[in-house]
């Protein structure tokens, strides 16, 4: 092993040697790079050494003395890890900055080296004064680096930086002096042994030391100088400041905490305030570097709070801190580097990334890492953090962390949305420099790798198979292949997975079998439609499969962590699917925000459960005895963001309507069922608890109102897909209502509805999507009379709407019949009436849908439209066969469902006698009704054919028109604002009050962010006053 001191020595030696090299910049750079590589090698060696064996940390004493007389460096696992991170980042950072370093010459290289050196020593040193010295060295070096890219902004900001760090260092120095005065030593270990906080005045000494370190972490609001640095410095430097320097300061803070344990509580507060406030401020930022600055500060705040929580978190502290830190470290540096590659001042210009798709992928990885999506490390970190905090009953902390993360999500996903969706045609081409690209790519790969490593560390994730994710990665790698290969492979993948899981589930777990069937079979069917597309459809298959993988994980999850893993995966996949639509940018953002919000509610709920039961099994939800209502509500809210219940439904119409034709059924018919599945799990686990009954009662009302508002809003839509989207909201409202009944019939209804809704909504969305592909518009009033051009589509929609509306003999009626029985059985009459009422309102939009598109007058430009693509027709007709089977033989479905539900609600089951189902109240023979109606219909049909077989076929304008002839199809097609009278009578019910509420909320948050941002006025003196004020206020808070 090379002595770690040589990290310092070779760096110093080379730094001096550089002076002798004269103007040979390339050589100097080579030397610097090899030095950094050497430093990497040394720390890597130690890292591996400590990783393999748990030996005592190595102590290095300079000058042959022992502390307190000598300067003491320590090399343990922690130090090895951090120096490794610093040195690798330094190495790659230098590579990234190759061009700039060569331009500015060897002085800058020297400074760079010194900067890295300073950070290394800050990590290793155990000596307070030494810490001060090297922190000064590091700051001054950094100040030099800031003006690496000298411009009108960077020079004043470098100056402000120097002043601010000077002030902070003076605190550190003062603290050190006092500490030495009171303890007689400068060694950190000895100072902490001296328990200075009990010494009068000693506490102030360590307080000053610690606070200086905290201030180095740029807490809100004493951080204006740092923001200016981020904004003005070269992004390569920004990466170093945010990634390495921040990390080092955090480690120093961690190292110094034992000196002043009393600071922990205030540290948590300061950190979280910084976290929430910085993210809030980030909301109104448009400059990418400054935005990253806010995000950095937020993350550092979170991390310093985490350090403060050391006691609370116990064993898990290292894992949590490390995963979050590493996420921040990689992601933030990566983002800064990307910013350097793009080099634009507005986040809207990041659409440029699409010119080099790999950069977009990296960008996505970094963003998702910051928010904490699986399988990236921060996901596990945040999960564990929330779990542990909840276990310690620290709900305030949980809340603020989740709020802060949520706000961070807002701007990060807005940014991601810009990058994915905005028009980039008028943005300049740019060349991808290998020296800039390589470090970024490395960081991305390392990030994923750490995630995988971290996941291996997690307990409660053992049931998760990584094969689907590997398969998805493979699909991504072949993204350049034509569509039919990828589509076939994807279908094969889903089919294989179905084959693997479904038969087994059928015998073991009917509930999971059904939902798995909906997800996987539905996935296969909707993917078949994908053959209709031409070209490559880049990026579609990986994200679609990610969603399906997430859904499958949810089904197979046995622990809450696995469930949440799948949930987040599904959210991420569906986000990318949704944002693929033409005008989806805002809808996808609102989808993501509601999803994140919901996910955090779920997280909190799981956290509370874990706190009490100390178990991650989903089944443990049922063992909960305290705070059952709270957990139930949190989880229900989380799931209801997916089922889009009233109040949380804002995202759905736009997202579904603007999505691509075969994506709409995926997200509507399939994805929403994930929420239903979650609610089912929740109610199975907690349904026995008497406190839940009240909540379920209100959930029932919520479901009923959702159904009403959804259906009524659907009736007033002019956009076919939007109409179907509102219809989905309403249908999920029915399901929520039925679930909330928590009775045998209620759940039977809910399950029956779920399956039926999957079938007919998939049919409708696929058909309408296919029609939209052909006619090129969503607006129904622009279509009309397409029945003659598209008989296949018409029949599909006809079957779909009959099934949806609940008209016998098709399957929808079974749902209505069950509903009546369940409602009367449960005595929920008035909610039931609302549900029935909304069921009839459904006729309005269903008729509008089929009439406006297929009946009425054919428009000129659609005269030559042909029938829907065969690839859409195949899955549609398979689904129709499904509907027909269920309609003719409802017992085939209802009997197993009833048996399954009897596990939980044995009372009130249907009695079966052949095809005749009998409930407490009524009876119904689906099979017989089908036959009776069939015979009757055929008889009448034959009769009419006999009577009027010779009817003359006429064309569209051969109508009686008050002795005139219509002039244009457009003016003869009665479709726009079809239910004007109804709107006049009852339209007030669907006035967009809820949307207005959310708009008001977002306006309010944005104006708050804007107002708070005014404290940063760019004035260096003001910034110093903030630092001083911060110091003083904290001082009074602590003492």
């Amino acid at each position: 092993m090379v002595n770690p001191i040589h990290i310092v020595s070779i760096a110093l030696g080379v730094a001096f040697a550089l002076g002798f090299l004269g103007k040979r910049d390339k050589l100097s750079l080579g030397l610097v790079l090899s030095t950094l590589a050497g430093m990497v090698a040394i720390s890597a060696g130690w890292f591996i050494h400590f990783l393999n064996s748990s030996v005592e940390p190595l102590q290095i004493f300079t000058g042959g003395f022992k502390p307190p007389f000598a300067i003491n460096l320590q090399m343990g696992l922690a130090e090895a890890t951090f120096t490794l991170l610093i040195n690798v980042a330094g190495f790659l950072g230098a590579i990234y900055l190759t061009k700039e370093l060569l331009k500015t010459g060897k002085n800058m290289m020297l400074i760079f080296l010194v900067f890295i050196l300073g950070l290394n020593v800050m990590v290793m040193t155990r000596d307070l004064f030494n810490l001060f010295v090297f922190s000064e060295i590091q700051s001054i070096a950094l100040a030099g680096l800031i003006i690496l890219d000298p411009n009108r902004k960077s020079i004043p900001s470098g100056f402000k930086y120097v002043i601010a760090t000077g002030l902070i260092s003076s605190f550190l120095l003062l603290g050190t002096v006092f500490a030495y005065y009171f303890s007689g030593t400068l060694n950190i270990d000895f100072i902490s042994q001296a328990s200075l906080q009990y010494v009068k005045g000693g506490a102030v000494a360590v307080f000053m030391v610690i606070l200086a370190v905290i201030l180095e972490l740029k807490p809100f609001p004493a951080n204006g100088w740092a923001l200016d640095v981020y904004e003005s410095a070269h992004p390569g430097i920004g990466a170093l400041v945010s990634g390495i320097a921040g990390t080092t300061s955090l480690f120093v803070l961690y190292k110094l905490i034992p000196v002043a344990p009393f600071i922990s509580d205030i540290l948590i507060t300061l950190g979280l305030v910084s976290f929430v406030a910085s993210n809030l401020l980030g909301l109104s930022q448009t400059n990418p570097n400054r935005l990253l600055g806010y995000s950095s500060i937020g993350q550092l705040g979170l991390l310093s709070a985490t350090i403060g929580m050391q006691q609370l978190l116990g064993d898990k502290f290292i894992f949590i801190a490390l995963t979050i830190l590493i996420s921040h470290f990689f992601a933030k540096a990566g983002l800064f580097w990307l910013s350097g590659i793009i080099n634009r001042d507005d986040i809207k210009d990041w659409a440029m990334l699409r010119k080099k798709p790999i950069l977009l992928v990296l960008f996505g990885v970094f963003i998702f890492s910051l928010i904490g999506f699986p399988p990236l490390p921060s996901f596990f970190g945040k999960w564990s953090l929330i779990m542990e905090l909840s276990a310690g009953n620290q709900y305030m902390l949980v809340t603020s962390i989740l709020i802060g993360s949520f706000i961070e999500g807002i701007y990060l996903f807005r940014w991601l949305g810009y990058a994915i969706k905005l028009d980039f045609s008028d943005l300049p081409e740019f060349k991808l420099n290998i020296s800039k690209f390589l470090p970024t790519l490395t960081w991305g790969i390392l990030l994923i790798a750490t995630g995988v490593v971290a996941s291996a560390e997690m307990e409660g994730l053992s049931g998760l198979s990584y094969w689907p994710l590997i398969f998805i990665a493979f699909i991504y790698l072949i993204d350049e292949l034509p569509i039919y290969i990828k589509n076939t492979l994807s279908i094969a993948g889903l089919a294989f997975y179905s084959w693997l899981t479904l038969p087994e589930l059928y015998y073991t777990d009917m509930l999971r079998f059904i939902f798995m069937g909906i997800f996987l079979i539905g996935g296969i069917l909707t993917l078949i439609a994908g053959y209709a597309y031409k070209g490559k459809r880049r990026g579609f298959y990986p994200v679609a499969l990610i969603m399906y993988a997430g859904l499958a994980y949810i089904i197979q999850a046995s622990t809450t962590l696995e469930f949440f893993f799948g949930w987040e995966l599904m959210t991420a996949g569906s986000y990318f699917l949704i944002i693929r639509g033409k005008k989806s940018i805002n809808h996808a953002l609102s989808y993501m925000l509601f999803s994140i919000g919901g996910a955090y509610a779920i997280l909190a709920g799981f956290g509370i459960t874990f706190a009490e039961t100390q178990s991650m099994l989903i089944a443990s939800l049922s063992q909960l005895s305290n705070m059952v209502p709270l957990v139930f509500i949190l989880l229900a809210i989380g799931f209801m963001t997916k089922t889009a219940s009233l109040g949380l439904h804002i995202w759905l119409p736009g997202a579904h309507a603007e999505a691509e034709s075969d994506v709409s059924p995926m997200v509507s018919a399939i994805l929403l069922k994930a929420g239903v599945f979650g609610l089912l799990l929740l109610m199975i686990a907690m349904g026995n608890n008497p406190q839940i009954a009240t909540i379920a009662y209100y959930l029932g009302w919520l479901g009923a109102l959702t159904a009403l508002v959804g259906n009524m809003a659907a009736a007033f839509q002019e956009d076919a897909k939007r109409l179907l989207a509102y219809s989905s909201i309403a249908q999920l409202g029915y399901i929520l209502f039925a679930l909330a009944m928590m009775s045998h019939l209620g759940w039977l209804t809910a399950m029956y509805y779920s399956i039926n809704h999957f079938l007919y909504k998939a049919i409708l969305f696929l058909t309408i999507g296919a029609v939209v592909l052909k006619v090129g518009t969503h607006s129904m009033y622009k279509m009309g009379g397409l029945i003659k051009n598209m008989p296949l589509a018409f029949i599909a929609v006809l079957i779909g709407i009959i099934a949806l509306s609940g008209v016998p003999p098709l399957s929808g009626f079974g749902g209505k019949w069950l509903f009546y029985n369940a409602v009367i059985d449960k005595h929920w009459y008035f909610q039931g009436i609302i549900v029935f009422f909304s069921g009839i309102v459904a006729f309005l939009y269903l008729y509008k849908l089929i009439y406006s598109i297929f009946l009425g007058q054919l428009k000129d430009n659609l005269r030559h439209v042909t029938d829907i693509s065969l690839w859409f027709a195949i899955p549609i007709y398979i689904l129709i066969i499904g509907i027909m089977i269920i309609s003719a033989k409802p017992e085939w479905l209802l009997q197993p469902l009833g048996k399954m539900i009897s596990q939980w609600y044995p009372n009130g089951a249907l009695a079966w006698n052949g095809g005749l189902a009998t409930s407490t109240y009524g009876y119904w023979n689906g099979n017989g009704v089908m036959i009776t109606i069939g015979i009757m219909f055929t008889t009448i049909l034959i009769w009419l054919i006999v009577l009027s077989r010779k009817a003359q076929k006429v064309k569209q304008f051969n109508i009686v028109y008050a002795a005139e002839a219509p002039q244009r199809p457009e003016t003869t097609h009665q479709s726009y604002n079809m239910y004007a009278g109804y709107n006049k009578a009852l339209g007030w019910i669907v006035a967009p009050k809820i949307t207005e509420f959310w708009n008001m909320m977002s306006d309010w948050i944005l104006s708050l962010a804007h107002f708070t941002r005014l404290i940063y006025n760019g004035n260096g003196q003001r910034y110093l006053i903030y630092i001083l004020g911060y110091f003083v206020i904290i001082y009074f808070l602590v003492f």
Binding site: K816, G922, G928, S948, N958, G981
Partner: protein, 302 residues
């Protein structure tokens, strides 16, 4: 399901009776209307002649398949409600196929004909058809509210959703009828009946003189004949539904005829007196007094 020729025979006979009674009732009502206006009015056999006339029209036009199927759906709807509704409660002969489904089936089967007709008329391509249908559907949404409340009230009261059982529970005398045992449900249901039977003030769908004549604008000859047959059947079975729900059902055909006549007469009577509502008036009307009555009916048995 075993094929039961006897049941089929009785059912078809019942259908014949209902069809002819429907036509006759129609003539009676028009006759009454004429007498109110101090006219003599149509001869009693006029509906049959009109029916024959329409079936004897020599030429037809069709706008397409759905236009063709529309009347078939419509008549299937009418006949279907007949099939699933017990007509005469005593004995087994006139229960039709009501053993296949209960009240809920009848409620939702009403839509079968409506929807089919709406689709057929839609393919006719006439804007008035679409206007009439949009009005009809709008109005129907709220008509169903008091009706559903009334039905739920009855279902709670009699503890069943089976129409035959509801009728049986009302046997044993005049005072056993729901009309007396559950007056609020009856009131709500009978106000809803005004809407379902579609006379003034709720005849917006056809709205003669305004959107002549709504959905069937394009229908003629045999198509119209089918629609007329359906109208006759539907009026009787709708009246029979209310009879079964609220007025003790029927134990023989005489009782059936008298009761359906009176129920149907109720809507005609109101129609004679009140002018047509505008759409927003008629939609909201059912959410006022009838809704309150229905709610009271449910609350009484909760």
């Amino acid at each position: 399901m075993d094929f039961d020729i006897k049941r089929l025979g009785f059912t078809l006979l019942g259908l014949l009776i209902v069809l002819n009674w429907g036509l006759l009732m129609n003539a009676f009502m028009r006759k009454i209307g004429a007498r109110v206006a101090r006219r003599i009015g149509i001869p009693w056999h006029q509906p049959w002649i009109d029916l024959f006339k329409n079936y004897s029209i020599r030429s037809q036009i069709t706008h397409g398949l759905m236009f063709y199927l529309g009347p078939i759906f419509r008549l299937s709807g009418g006949v279907g409600i007949f099939l699933f509704m017990p007509m005469i409660i005593t004995g087994d002969h006139w229960l039709n196929y009501s053993f296949q489904g209960d009240l809920v089936l009848i409620m939702y089967f009403q839509f079968f004909g409506m929807l089919g007709m709406a689709l057929g008329a839609g393919e006719g391509g006439h804007p008035y058809s679409a206007i009439g249908i949009s009005r009809g559907l709008s109005q129907f949404t709220t008509i169903e509210v008091p009706l559903t409340l009334a039905i739920i009230s009855l279902a709670i009261q009699y503890d069943t959703l089976s129409l035959a059982d509801i009728v049986r529970a009302q046997q044993g005398g005049f005072m056993h009828w729901s009309m007396w045992t559950n007056p609020f449900a009856t009131a709500a249901g009978m106000l809803a009946a005004l809407g379902t039977l579609g006379h003034s003030p709720f005849n917006l769908v056809m709205a003669p003189n305004e959107i002549p004549i709504g959905p069937p604008t394009e229908y003629h000859s045999t198509f119209l004949g089918v629609l007329q047959s359906n109208g006759a059947i539907l009026h009787v079975v709708e009246a029979a539904l209310f009879m079964n729900l609220f007025f003790g059902g029927a134990t023989n055909w005489i009782e059936f005829i008298v009761k359906t006549f009176l129920i149907y007469f109720w809507s005609v009577f109101v129609g004679m007196v009140f002018p047509r509502f505008r759409i927003e008036q008629s939609v909201t009307w059912f959410l006022k007094v009838p809704l309150v009555l229905g709610v009271i009916a449910v609350v009484m048995f909760m």
